[in-house]
């Protein structure tokens, strides 16, 4: 993640130059999406939260000082918005669920699993899902931080409080596993 480029883009956005938003979105969307996804499963809700997060972020740009990392701020907003939504959803789940069932809602409430909010396109990432099932928790975390969120291994080593050489070794072991997983996942599909 090019921190300087992000800060430069934010300076443009502060001036109301909306044409710079596209690049800003492209640079940050994976991290924002993934941050929200760790809290919320439903794709449709994730989309809404993503949108709300970016809007909140832009609307509070004037509060961000020039030397502050805007990316961290955006992720904090995304995470908090997702948590708020999660709290709301957990509270009203039972009520809406009961109403929907009584009214025989066309959305097809599943009584057994209470998946009334998941009638949207599912997250489709077969290789990633396979990795989640077959890697250890630590390995998966390293995979997330490096491959998906784009942290450099030096940074991940600091986050996990591990020596760089150890982290590198683990990372390479993980990628070797991913290589095998890839063949299993995509060969099966063929």
């Amino acid at each position: 993640m090019n921190k300087h480029r992000l800060m430069s883009l934010v300076e443009h956005l502060k001036k109301g130059e909306s044409e710079y938003f596209d690049e800003f979105y492209d640079l940050t969307k994976v991290s924002v999406y993934y941050t929200i996804k760790k809290i919320i499963n439903d794709q449709s809700t994730i989309q809404d939260i993503m949108q709300d997060s970016y809007i909140k972020f832009i609307n509070s740009l004037h509060k961000i000082e020039s030397n502050y990392n805007p990316f961290s701020y955006l992720l904090i907003i995304a995470r908090n918005t997702a948590l708020d939504e999660k709290k709301k959803t957990n509270k009203i789940d039972y009520i809406d669920f009961a109403e929907e069932f009584d009214n025989q809602s066309p959305i097809g409430v599943n009584i057994a699993t209470n998946h009334s909010y998941e009638m949207v396109t599912k997250f489709d990432a077969p290789l990633l899902d396979y990795c989640k099932e077959n890697l250890t928790e630590e390995e998966y975390k390293i995979l997330e931080l490096t491959v998906i969120l784009g942290y450099r291994r030096v940074e991940v080593a600091k986050i996990l409080n591990e020596p760089k050489s150890t982290l590198n070794w683990k990372y390479n072991q993980i990628l070797k596993k991913v290589k095998h997983f890839y063949k299993e996942v995509y060969n099966e599909k063929i």
Binding site: S18, I55, D124, S165, N172, L175
Partner: protein
């Protein structure tokens, strides 16, 4: 290996909605601008009431004396018949900073090409792709890079010059880029003088570029880097080959006695040391040696693919992308981290 990690990233990206348009629609950009202006005005008032003290961040690697930093935008075109009313189609933007850089700008103010005017300029542009960006954006990025590299400090001067393809100085563009640089310097809290370059200074820079074949240096750097990378990969391959040959008989049959095991063990430790591999295992057990052997074979395969990829020009996109890919290969596949 990068193919598989890229696949994972691609899977995630495919699920991410494109919300750019809907987000932009919902924002009142004029209000954003107003809020920012009010904030700036409030800051200015607050700053004026304080005593200003200069503080500087000095970050230098090699500069032992004050260097003059010259920023000049020179726009040159091939000489063409002109009735005085036609507008240029291509602008050659020369940014001479010690390092020195040139940008080519089209009539829409977009960068179409970039290159260093001296070797330091070529190096400064490493991994940076400015093509497609506006001249203002490119200027900002370059000033950022100069700042990061420690070339901007109180002893320096930034010189700015703009001319069009007819050799005529463009004062309006100079003012525009000067404002951009000034704004950017304010965000870096640098107190640096900004003035217009003298014409003779520009000529000196251009003569240096032409007389020293700097244009070829850029390609030379990338090719030299590739060759070095291949050389190091081959060294590693040879090491792997030697080690795996020695271990091969042992791993086939657990009961096989290895003669001079100490020598082989030292080689294994040397390999791990040299390539920054964490030794998380005891190399005296069959299982661990076997695992190490299998990893050697995997590494061998990866390296062979990398070498083949470089030779086939697999990593060649733009100049900036080529270098970025090569740097990644060094960090991730050859020497890990150091």
């Amino acid at each position: 290996m990068r193919k598989y990690s890229k696949k994972i990233k691609q899977e995630v990206e495919n699920n991410i909605p494109n919300l750019k348009a809907s987000i932009k629609e919902k924002i009142d950009w004029n209000l954003i601008k107003q809020n920012n202006m009010q904030n700036l005005q409030a800051q200015v008032k607050s700053d004026n009431s304080k005593t200003k003290t200069k503080t500087f961040n000095f970050r230098f690697a090699f500069i032992s004396f004050a260097c003059v930093v010259v920023l000049c935008l020179a726009i040159m075109l091939p000489i063409a018949l002109s009735n005085g009313n036609s507008t240029p189609s291509t602008y050659y933007v020369t940014i001479d900073v010690n390092p020195s850089i040139r940008l080519e700008i089209d009539k829409n103010d977009k960068v179409t090409n970039q290159y260093g005017l001296n070797k330091d300029g070529v190096i400064l542009l490493y991994k940076e792709n400015l093509v497609g960006k506006t001249a203002q954006e490119a200027t900002e990025i370059i000033v950022n890079k100069l700042n990061t590299a420690g070339f901007l400090d109180a002893n320096n001067e930034i010189k700015l010059y703009v001319k069009d393809n007819y050799g005529k100085e463009s004062k309006s563009k100079e003012k525009s880029y000067k404002d951009t640089i000034q704004q950017h310097l304010e965000t870096t809290h640098k107190q640096i003088d900004l003035r217009i370059l003298e014409k003779n200074e520009l000529e000196e820079i251009e003569n240096f570029y032409n007389n020293n074949h700097i244009s070829e240096y850029q390609n030379e750097l990338v090719n030299a880097f590739k060759e070095k990378l291949i050389e190091q990969a081959n060294i590693k391959l040879q090491f792997i080959s030697n080690l795996s040959t020695m271990l091969e008989y042992f791993v086939i049959n657990e009961d096989t006695q290895i003669e001079d095991f100490d020598i082989i063990l030292n080689m294994m430790l040397e390999f791990c040391n040299k390539y920054y591999i964490s030794i998380g295992a005891d190399f005296t057990t069959y299982e661990n040696i076997n695992e190490f052997y299998q990893e050697l074979l995997n590494s061998k395969q990866d390296l062979e693919q990398i070498i083949a990829g470089i030779n086939q020009g697999e990593n060649e996109n733009t100049y900036a992308d080529s270098l970025k890919d090569l740097f990644e290969l060094v960090e991730e596949d050859l020497y890990k981290e150091n």
